[in-house]
């Protein structure tokens, strides 16, 4: 069975761990973590990711810039992205979707829910 590599880009360590724990339980998913946009840029060429989940508010480049970069890059543009926004900022959601994110998720969320979404999206089990 092939493995789906999922990249989580999130600068909050605790949140990152929550997500990694939830997604790590899914069969067929290999979780990769990036603590910032820059990190994500470094990791991208090293693996073929089935999905990227990115926060928006991050120190060096923000999530929207990352989405834009991925979608405009011939090597990665087929990679789907989920954008993680916060309550009360529909403009981030709209921008994220406009720039090419496939789905959006609003913080705070239950890790089990995102697990279910990823499972359905990647058509696992």
């Amino acid at each position: 069975m092939s493995v789906h590599k999922v990249l989580i880009v999130e600068d909050s360590r605790a949140t990152r761990e929550l997500l990694a724990a939830a997604l790590g339980e899914l069969d067929g998913v290999e979780v990769h973590l990036a603590i910032s946009g820059f990190e994500a840029l470094k990791v991208l060429p090293r693996h073929r990711f089935a999905l990227i989940i990115t926060d928006i508010n991050m120190p060096d480049i923000n999530g929207l810039e990352l989405i834009n970069f991925v979608k405009k890059n011939p090597h990665y543009k087929e990679t789907p992205l989920f954008v993680v926004t916060t309550e009360g900022r529909p403009q981030d959601r709209d921008r994220g979707l406009q720039l090419g994110a496939a789905e959006y998720v609003v913080k705070p969320f239950e890790p089990a829910d995102i697990s279910a979404l990823v499972k359905r999206y990647l058509k696992l089990g």
């Binding site: 470094k42 060096d60 406009q98 705070p108 969320f109």
Partner: protein, 704 residues
Amino acid sequence: MATERALDEFVTEANEILDQLAKDLFVLDQERGREPDPERLNAIFRGAHSLKGLSAMFGVDRISRLAHRAEDVLDALRLGKVPLDDRLIDTLIETLDMLQALLARVSQGTSAPDIEAGADHLQDRLGDLAKGRANAAEDLLDQVGLDPAMRSVFTEYEEHRLRENVKKGVGLWKVRAVYSLEDFDAQLAALNARLKPLGEVVSTLPSSQPGDEASIAFDLVFGSARPRADLEKALEGATLAPLTSRPAPEVTKVGRPLPPETSSPAPRPAPKWDETSASGFSPFPESPGSALRLAPDASLRSLTQTVRVDIARLDGLMNSIGELLLIRSNINRLAESARQVGTGVALPKLWGQELQREARALERKLDELQKGVLDVRMVPLGQVFDKLTRLMRRLVRESGKDVDFEVSGGDVELDKLIVEELSDPLMHLLRNSLDHGIEPPEVRRLHHKPTRGKIRLKAREQGNQVIIEVGDDGGGMDEARIRQVAVERGLVTEAQAQELSRRDLLNLVFLPGFSTRADVSEMSGRGVGLDVVKTNLQRLSGLIDIDSRRGDGTTFTLTLPLTLAIIRALMVSVSGRTYAVPLSSVMEIVSVRHADLKTIERREVFEVRGQTLPFVRLGRVFRLPEQPRERSYVVIIGLAQQRIGLAVDELLGQEDIVTKPLSGRLRAVPGVSGATELGDRRAVLVLDVGALMEELLRPQAAAS
């Protein structure tokens, strides 16, 4: 929700954030009265934002709420909407203290009612502070000629910083640096350090060009008052170029134009949901009651004053009325010609006048009769709404989804023919809302929507039309996907797809061939048979419009005439054939000399009162043999904002006609919606103005 270990993680990280906040606020405090460093303000904002998100994820609501309020104030602050005054700084410092206290209690596992009261109070004060003045309307950035592709990626904050730089009159530059993937972060940090003393780095944008696997490029948007020479010294391998193609106001800079980037359309401000939906979110008014005002649950059967009428008898009555109308027009014509002939000969003239009087009396009576019969044909939409409700309840149960189905406006009445024809399209739209609109529960939770989805079916009267809305609060349509599918299926070219407005893009789903059943499950939208829904509605002289916003849901708005049966039509002749044009769609009639026609992009156009409209030869559209002519009558038809001129040979007058929809195998004929019978029992076709307009306004329709 959080485990022991996770809580520790939370507390550790939260403490780190608060420590950094403390440091930054300290500097702000020290530098009171001075212009604050925008980077520092931004950092404080980001700290509050991160804390909010973090504490929310771990269910620590007290901290999350307070941090949220602080974030609002700080956002307003960094966007220049509120000034940084002493009161604000003091409140922020108090907030920091409060947050630290709250966090301490969380880590100890104790509750803190005494502090909580203080926290609430602080929240209110922050709320007041966040109310600032709105930004001035004129946008300098529009005047500055910024590349739309770049602008679409900027956040509100970055735009604000850029604007500030423009206001200060400093030069705007784009610094491009290409680094290897191994160490670009260190290199960028170094570049930033060199640039910071010279100005402000507004944004750092990663770029895919050049497309080398081992390297990555960055475009830094940089504002600086220093001359170019100074800046170039700091670059060390990066290149410098002016950012904009037009000089910033008050600052003149000569520069070569930017190389064109791969374009994405200039972003329009994201439309608010209620601006764009056809009916808006204004509360749906109860439709004005008829004399019999039905209680919402009452069915017609509970009223004893009703009679069940066989529709065939009504049709028979309508036919009789139709014939009477014909007789009336014949009489009118006779009277008219009698009157004219009568000059000089007394008897025929008098007789003509009497005849005309009788004709008028006949007309009055006929109007009454017509109205009466039409009223009998009117049935409440509730008839079909009830059936739909029963069916929806069953489907919802079977789907396992949690959905509220709201119905209103069942007492709105429409011609029975129309109501019957509506059940299919409405059912179709509702099924799709349920299957593809409403997201699965975990996705709705992730979208912070109530787990209970809403599907609504509403009707209301508006003038002599009825508006029916079918909507949901589901996932909405994926515009990118629609664009992709439309291009894949050859319905539009890539270039055209980029040009389309949002509304036009959404309307692509009505094109035949848009999607097959196989696609539907992938899209968070609809596709199957929507073209059929639209053509069915057009046959009823109805329109359908769609509005959808990703994340908010989708609404279909159907507009229908109150009645089909008898309409006033303009009779025209083209190449010897007679057609009826519903007068309600006719804006104007003019006469045009062919010598005055012009051609724009291979299409004929003509001018009327300064406006240029398409000149469409109906004979050509219908592939009829043409005779060369010097002039044509042009019937200007319009729907919403669009107008075109249909060129015909003769005008044959107006008639009240009984329209019969073309049914069965004749449904598929394009441009024709029905037929009527003339005095000599000839059948004459009635044009489908809506379908014609659409056909003729499509990009591919060339005047051939």
